[in-house]
Symmetry: C2
Subunit: 202 residues, 2 copies
């Protein structure tokens, strides 16, 4: 960042940055992660490839922005499921919100969880927001543990079990990689409930 010498220059920089991020997002949504090249993004934004490199250091910096943005959307979706005095019902709604997020944002979802961009590793800020999403789930599980409906364990570890189950179901649904005729909404709900029931004290 070559610190703006005037307010006008800063504003211009922000507008350029925004235009590049918007172009990258549109390419991601329309073409998937494979479509994300610096050349395409710069061209769609109406800027030079140098503008992309100077602001984001290259493609990975932009992928990082979209990756963090995806987790921000996921956190909002999980939190919108709400909190009642029935933690298991809350977790069920969080699970449904996770599936809805994946179906509504399949390309962000791929970027976040399938890591389709060769060589890309999320940066510190992006990982922080990713971990925050897992913590929303862990907090819900901790409430169920306190209530005694889920066995006491490290909530973060239990969150991985629940997350992986949700991920497996929605991944197969989105890939179309299962026999036809499956009622995914019902199968998703029943399987998530089975994991939670299986995690109960026994």
């Amino acid at each position: 960042m070559d610190s703006g010498t005037t307010i006008g220059a800063d504003l211009d920089t922000d507008k350029t940055r925004d235009a590049i991020v918007r172009a990258a997002r549109e390419i991601l949504v329309a073409q998937g992660p494979d479509g994300l090249t610096v050349r395409k993004i710069a061209s769609a934004a109406g800027h030079s490839t140098m503008a992309v490199y100077s602001r984001f250091g290259g493609k990975d910096g932009l992928v990082d922005v979209l990756f963090g943005e995806g987790f921000g959307l996921l956190i909002a979706a999980l939190e919108s499921a709400g909190t009642t005095d029935d933690p298991l019902a809350d977790l069920d709604r969080q699970g449904a919100a996770y599936r809805r997020f994946a179906l509504d944002h399949p390309q962000h979802y791929s970027l976040m969880f399938e890591r389709p961009v060769p060589g890309y590793r999320p940066g510190h800020d992006a990982l922080t927001v990713a971990n925050a999403a897992l913590e929303v789930l862990a907090r819900g599980l901790e409430r169920a543990m306190v209530q005694g409906t889920v066995i006491r364990a490290e909530p973060a570890t239990t969150a991985i079990s629940m997350w992986a189950t949700c991920h497996g179901l929605v991944s197969l649904e989105m890939a179309g990689a299962a026999p036809p005729g499956i009622d995914w909404e019902t199968t998703y709900s029943l399987t998530c409930q089975a994991v939670l029931r299986g995690l109960a004290p026994y």
Copy 2:
């Protein structure tokens, strides 16, 4: 297939076919599904692109061979887990065999379950062998249902629940898309057991 006029011609056709399949398999393993182009495969096999088109109809025909081959390997892995008089323990070993298959054959696994080749749809024979793999799991679940350790339901539906859970866990492990420091072997086993316990009569 322009039916061989002599035994020699048939043998030659088979050798060409085998060389092309072997080249496609090697490219899949080394470069992943994105590396599968008719030009690359033909070149690696030492044949013309026409040889690929005439024998397989194009890239999708070859992908179909590798897809079916992957499911054949998976069936062998699942069946090698064996059958005892403890269906739940058998299912646990089948689950472990599934994970081992995925880790040993990540590129076949991707082809089978992530559907990374745009426009590719498995043909009839490939789908038949894919369904046979799910049936191995369904048979194991049916034995547990008969024994009363898993709730009576359509085994094929219950198999989807267990399969999706295994798939979600191993997908996150292979993508490196979870916080570091997870003991995946243990998490995998505990989560699969939780699903099975959650599917028990209640």
